[in-house]
Symmetry: none
Subunit: 203 residues, 4 copies
């Protein structure tokens, strides 16, 4: 059966009610991350993931209905990591500080596991997976913070989207180049974002 059924589930097959299951699921997802990082797309296959996770391929399919579900779970995990860090920005009083925190989060996120981040960016845009993942959540959070910083901006959602795109572009490129100087990257990123706002702020 190679015809991908449109009703295919991307959610884990079972809500892992027991602690044991939860552990297994987590170990599989982490194994997926590791395989993707060390072997790239070419080597990202379910058998390799199961092997690395130390479970049987049968078990993997017990928890994930298919390869895509596993990919989605991995993307969700990474997105959540990012989202949780970004959410801290919401607790900051100063809007500018919040925006700066966001920038720092983006840089941190990317430079922690750059290869993984890049690969997931790619997977994320696969038509079959589109929308299934919580990318928009990130943009929404981003937008919330941004809009607090630029209350007088016309079209704040557009601006938020652009800032997000700029961030992603610069940060991906930095990962690609193998940059490791976080502070330098952060400084340039701030220049880009605040620069954008200063020019586009009052259309």
């Amino acid at each position: 059966m190679s015809e991908r059924s449109p009703q295919k589930q991307y959610r884990p097959r079972k809500a892992p009610s027991q602690a044991r299951s939860e552990e297994t699921v987590a170990s599989i997802v982490e194994a997926a991350a590791q395989v993707l990082e060390s072997e790239g797309f070419e080597g990202f296959n379910t058998n390799a993931v199961a092997r690395r996770a130390g479970v049987s391929i049968g078990s993997l399919y017990q928890y994930f209905p298919g390869k895509d579900a596993l990919t989605v779970a991995l993307i969700r995990r990474e997105t959540k990591r990012f989202h949780d860090d970004m959410a801290v920005a919401l607790t900051l009083r100063s809007a500018k500080a919040a925006l700066e925190y966001l920038i720092g989060a983006a840089v941190r996120q990317q430079l922690q596991r750059p290869v993984l981040a890049k690969l997931l960016d790619m997977e994320e845009s696969r038509p079959g997976l589109a929308g299934e993942v919580g990318k928009l959540d990130l943009e929404a959070l981003f937008a919330t913070v941004v809009q607090r910083a630029i209350p007088k901006h016309t079209r704040p959602e557009v601006a938020a989207g652009d800032l997000f795109a700029i961030t992603r572009g610069m940060v991906d490129a930095a990962g690609q180049r193998g940059e490791t100087d976080l502070e330098d990257l952060e400084r340039r990123l701030k220049a880009a974002l605040f620069g954008y706002l200063s020019k586009a702020g009052a259309d």
Copy 2:
């Protein structure tokens, strides 16, 4: 020595000397573009490309020594289209006008075949293909124009790289979202790039 070198060739197998051949090669590359656009990575296989091109699989392999070579050819074709447009900027007297022309070229490029552009950006960064494509040429051209515009900038290559990354990020995102308003995108992109320069210009 019959051992096939592991360093696969990415160059077309034969220079299509006859008009007939040239047509065939072009039709295969265009078919590759179409398949990639309509089927995505999953459906991008040599048999599908040959079928879409209306040639046999054997013919495809007569002109391209492998799947990667075909991908590289496609990337080169798209890159060339972009490069040729960008090169016009070099003929402009005003540095600012040149930079603005560049921005327009990037926008035009991306919005013509957005899906294709995004997919190729991805393929381009595949480890196996790295360096084989003319990506650096683009960045080099970009850098040339940028450096004329910002003679007093410290680290002009870094700035050029950042501008390139910003452009790519915004323009990819726009394509992803399905934006069609070229002028609006161009305006925002200018805001981002000139904004970046105004903030990062005098470190």
Copy 3:
């Protein structure tokens, strides 16, 4: 390291730990023998072998990393059969009896599955497989026995090599012609080997 080493493995992919697996492996090797015998080189392909073995092509590749590994396994099986029989010669006290036993073993070996033996002799000399198989083991065993029989011979390794070559030549030819009279062949082979020794013995 995802780059697959060009030095393909010739060893079975997994040691068949379970009885079920062992059977499968054996049936695949036997199927390979049969296909080679009945279809010759032309028809010796992995799909045919899998079909004849009554397993899926996937199973074949679960146990053998490639076609060559399967060939090597077959050669090893046949070589082992021969080797084990020849090894009996080492237990004989009389050097002459040992040599005669060897001759008998060679004749037996060849006439049991003549076509297979000939085909494997050929495959064995394929550049890619050279050294991977236990051919030298056979010659070494042969040499051991021979040297016990001809202690005063100058260049005993050369003599052993020649005797091996004579044996192989005569026995292959007999198989090719479809001879079935083992005793007659054995008599002539003895004439050849002892004749060689009587003439070349005291250079």
Copy 4:
């Protein structure tokens, strides 16, 4: 059309009546020899032969109805070379001298183009080609000479066959090992053949 028709012709498509054609045919056969020697079986394909011969693949098929026909032609050429050399033995008065000449011819033949000789030995025994080639001619000539040397031998054809097999076995092995000392090989070969005759001569 992959089904090999049993009526397939192995003879050149046209009797090359013109000198030009004869040259072309010869150059193709020589190219076949060279490809087989330098690339082995793996690289022995019609396109490679045509390329090496400096003719188009179409021309090759003009002169040979298929790949097998080309192989047969090559085997015939090599066989003829051998046969012509061996035939000189018939002119010698002494039977022993004739036999010795034969031995020398075999050694020369093998050591001139050892790889080619081995490869052709293999091709020769392919079921599809069996009988099409003139191997038996060689054995017949061999038998004629041998029988002159051993008039009192019982079963002279058997003896001739054995001598042929011994010769082929030793000479192939020598080629395989890369031996270059013709005289040494010849001496050992004589020991083998005359040794065989001395032992098997008077059953």
